[in-house]
Symmetry: C2
Subunit: 150 residues, 2 copies
DNA sequence: AATGAAATGATAGCATT
DNA sequence: AATGCTATCATTTCATT
């Protein structure tokens, strides 16, 4: 992982569809070694994959909420059950375990408020081990899923 | 935005480097109309861009924290100043305005705890209009930046 | 490890239905 | 709007330095 690899990562993070040809030009390398490095970065896991970034609104996903989760004390065997169950709710696009209270923060994306209520009642409040849920509506994204600082 | 467009978006969200040829095969269309649709989705903004998904650990970004921000009451003119300033901190990879209290949730990625302390003291606590900051360490990602539900 | 070159495969424009 | 064709460009492998 040298300076050249970092430059490759920076370029591909900004534009995941850059051609190897264009990428090679930008970092001042010829096509073959550039190609080899990209493959190596993919295989080492430094590049986990490539994604199209979609506009949620274009898919009629207009409602975004943060849900804080506190699990029941003592019930610490339920941590795995909870994590497995939460990963099965497709509207939960991000879930992180925190230190302290709350135990988890979930990022939920849905069509509208009615859809949120449905998912909240049917899927979230019945997650195993849950003591308390607190929800907040996201008004807007000020900084939206930025590129990692290199 | 018909069924075919949605299938294109689903495929490209899962693999942003799919060739138009492969994509066309998967959705059962020939290459040219598939290509035309992808271009249209890009130009309409439904596809905002393409990104390589990087492993933060591969870049020695081992520390991730959530910071809750409450702004001072009355000081509501400072909202814009705060939002501009927070967008200039490269380690803040996500910032969302919430309804109620706290006013903002920030997702901060740094090299280590020492780097967090530095950024917290030098950049975050001096953000304009801030009344109170609360930080929590992210233990782990249970669901990591999932694909939008289609 | 990087380069150059050559075969295979993808993209993008255009004429046709 | 979709298809098929074609010229151009990109990818990927291999021989060479």
């Amino acid at each position: 992982m040298d300076r050249t690899d970092r430059r490759i990562l920076a370029e591909l993070q900004a534009d995941g569809r850059l051609s190897i040809t264009e990428l090679a030009e930008r970092i001042g390398l010829s096509v073959s070694p550039c190609h080899r490095r990209v493959r190596a970065l993919e295989e080492s896991g430094a590049i986990k994959g490539y994604r199209a970034q979609l506009d949620p609104a274009a898919l009629s996903l207009e409602f975004s909420a943060i849900v804080f989760v506190t699990l029941r004390e003592g019930d610490r065997s339920a941590v795995e059950a909870f994590e497995t169950a939460v990963a099965e709710v497709p509207n939960v696009i991000q879930a992180q375990r925190l230190f302290g209270d709350p135990d988890y923060i979930l990022h939920v994306v849905v069509r509208d408020l009615a859809a949120f209520q449905r998912i909240y009642d049917a899927r979230l409040s019945s997650l195993p081990g849950v003591q308390r849920l607190t929800s907040t509506l996201v008004m807007k994204s000020v900084v939206e899923d930025r590129t990692l600082p290199l």
